[in-house]
């Protein structure tokens, strides 16, 4: 009896600490921005910041999907290969459609194709993982190889390029602006907002967190665990497809090196953002900050030449570990 009030008293303390710790990624990003500005005054120019955010959009959108998968206790290693395959297939479909259709219709069909392939790939992952009872790590490791080699086959190892006219018609999707803000940034913001809403304000979002924190308990609570998981992979697939819709108009081509190692960047963004790799808890805004942080490190390294270029990856690693260290308070 005597211990109970003491426990109640001490309880808020770690939570306050945890709250401070949870700001880790944001503090890390701010610190990095200060350093960047000191090193190069061009860092804070609007054009550079918009470059950084536009680049973060690709990984960020994919990472929003990855947040769902990881919170539910899964993992998807195939996202980079999937992006490459979607980009390649989408370009092939658009090139194959006759010019009589008109470029807007062709682009619309291409986009629908991309979303359909992404959703189908997610459905495949989810189904094999839940019905086939195979570890998500194994399933997506398998498809990582499958997707990329199919793309390599389709492209004969070279690159698949969008027809010139279509490329011109499609390029505003990446290079265009709305109210002065590049479209990829707007899409990124919309995906993040929607992801946050689904995760925190819907029943499905709670089921995802429940499944990840304890699958058995969730099952006893009448949560359809298999369905919840399948849907997380479909969300991931759709996010990859969305990112690809923005990627294709940038260079108008896909090659076997497209999306290489994106899976690691996406997972890193999710983890830096404070989502537990073992599942159960996480947050979308953290993932967004994580993605921006990763791209910012690269940008800063390109803007300065103080450190040998051989050590770029080492600097990235150090920053990632420091940010993870800043939020270690959460662990207890």
């Amino acid at each position: 009896m005597t211990t109970q009030p003491r426990e109640a008293q001490t309880a808020p303390r770690p939570s306050a600490l945890a709250r401070l710790g949870s700001l880790g990624p944001l503090l890390g990003l701010l610190a990095l921005m200060v350093v960047a500005t000191l090193l190069n005054h061009d860092f804070l120019t609007i054009s550079n910041l918009s470059n950084v955010l536009t680049r973060a959009a690709f990984i960020g959108i994919i990472a929003v999907g990855a947040t769902f998968v990881i919170i539910s206790g899964g993992i998807d290693l195939s996202v980079g290969s999937m992006a490459a395959l979607i980009a390649g297939s989408m370009i092939l479909v658009m090139n194959a459609l006759g010019p009589s259709l008109g470029s807007v219709a062709i682009i619309a069909i291409g986009m629908l194709c991309a979303l359909a392939i992404g959703a189908a790939a997610g459905l495949l992952h989810g189904t094999v993982i839940t019905r086939g009872r195979i570890e998500p790590f194994i399933v997506t490791l398998g498809t990582l190889g499958i997707f990329r080699s199919v793309l390599t086959y389709l492209s004969q190892g070279g690159s698949i390029s969008l027809n010139n006219d279509l490329s011109d018609a499609y390029s505003p999707v990446f290079y265009g602006q709305l109210l002065g803000i590049p479209i990829p940034i707007l899409v990124f913001a919309a995906v993040a907002l929607l992801g946050g809403l689904i995760l925190n304000r819907t029943r499905y979002g709670r089921y995802v967190q429940a499944t990840g924190s304890n699958e058995q308990v969730a099952r006893y609570a009448a949560v359809n665990v298999a369905q919840v998981k399948v849907v997380t992979y479909v969300i991931q697939g759709l996010c990859v497809a969305l990112a690809t819709l923005l990627y294709v108009p940038r260079l108008g081509s896909a090659s076997p090196s497209t999306g290489l190692l994106w899976e690691l960047e996406a997972i890193a963004a999710v983890i830096i953002g404070g989502t537990a790799l073992k599942g159960g808890a996480g947050r979308i805004w953290g993932t967004v900050v994580g993605a921006i942080l990763l791209v910012t490190i690269e940008n800063v390294l390109n803007l300065t030449s103080i450190i040998s270029v051989y050590l770029n990856a080492a600097v990235q690693g150090v920053v990632i570990i420091i940010v993870a260290f800043m939020q270690r308070g959460k662990r207890t």
Binding site: Q156, G157, G158, R250, L251, S255, P256, E298, L303, V309
Partner: protein, 316 residues
């Protein structure tokens, strides 16, 4: 009667030479799988040359194998030796060090080993060596940049992946600039990993950082694709030209069509696999000696000679 006799003689001679050609020879070709544009070109040319050589030399069988990494390649060449009983091996190693011993072992068994592009760490393991000229690519590029800029200006460099090849190219480039065009300043050099996405990113950051850039040496055509897009997006007009390298067909086409930014290209041709296979086949089938080392020079492609280097059917 005399005519008949000579006809018989002639046919006998023909038969004999046919029998000579019948001495069956098997050539194994082990190359990296098509994982980027240049290796795709290697795969394409290897298969083209297989068809060409088998037609040319009736007794010759050519087996082309692709591998995704050094380990798979080492397994493959073992199989080529044990199962296919190859007499000669043309190999473009994924990596030099791990393949040195397997190739050396094959050579000890009497297989004629020809190494392409990436030399082995122990040169005695290779019977002959055929390669592109990496320092040469850098030198030819530097000559073009220096001359076109009139010996004066600021340039940026986008490198490949941190490897010996990349270092040789960049060293060759900088060597020429230092000795012949000292007034050309390299503002910065960063890795763009021989890929378009990184070319785009690194160039965007260069454009943010440097208000005036006269020219770009992208070192590779894939990187140059990204560089062009970044320049276009930023709407910059200070850059006079972008020089890539390797001879990708899209870039050669741009040179041919007179693109304002892509005024030239420097070859590092995937056709070197064809040259290596031809030389090997010739030496096997006609007992001609093959030179110990064949270096295929890097050539400057300009509008006047671009047509010679444009292969529309190749994937690269």
């Amino acid at each position: 009667m005399k005519q008949l006799k000579s006809l018989a003689l002639l046919s006998a001679a023909l038969l004999a030479s046919a029998a000579l050609a019948q001495t069956k020879q098997v050539m194994g070709v082990s190359i990296p799988s098509a994982d980027h544009g240049w290796t795709a070109g290697i795969v394409y040319w290897a298969n083209q040359t297989k068809a060409e050589l088998e037609k040319m030399y009736p007794g010759l069988t050519v087996i082309v194998k692709t591998a995704k990494d050094a380990n798979e390649q080492a397994n493959q060449i073992q199989d080529l030796s044990a199962v296919n009983k190859i007499n000669s091996l043309v190999i473009l190693p994924q990596e030099s060090a791990p393949l040195t011993r397997p190739v050396g072992n094959l050579q000890k068994k009497g297989v004629f080993t020809v190494v392409v592009d990436r030399a082995l760490t122990d040169p005695t393991a290779q019977s002959a060596y055929v390669a592109g000229d990496n320092p040469g690519l850098g030198k030819v590029s530097a000559e073009y940049v220096g001359k076109t800029l009139g010996g004066k200006g600021n340039i940026v460099v986008l490198r490949g992946i941190a490897t010996v090849i990349d270092n040789q190219r960049v060293d060759g480039f900088e060597g020429v600039l230092k000795s012949k065009y000292p007034d050309i300043k390299i503002l910065d050099k960063q890795y763009a990993n021989w890929n378009r996405d990184d070319g785009f990113k690194v160039m965007q950051d260069y454009l943010t950082r440097f208000p005036k850039i006269d020219a770009v040496w992208a070192q590779d055509d894939d990187i140059a694709v990204g560089v062009l897009k970044a320049i276009q997006q930023a709407g910059r007009s200070d850059i006079k030209f972008v020089l890539g390298g390797a001879g990708m067909k899209e870039m050669v086409k741009k040179v041919q069509d007179g693109d304002p930014l892509i005024t030239a290209d420097v070859t590092y041709p995937p056709t070197m696999i064809r040259d290596a296979m031809r030389l090997t086949a010739k030496s096997m089938m006609t007992k001609a000696t093959m030179p110990k080392s064949t270096i295929i020079p890097s050539v400057l492609i300009t509008k006047s000679n671009a047509a010679q280097y444009y292969y529309p059917n190749s994937p690269f």
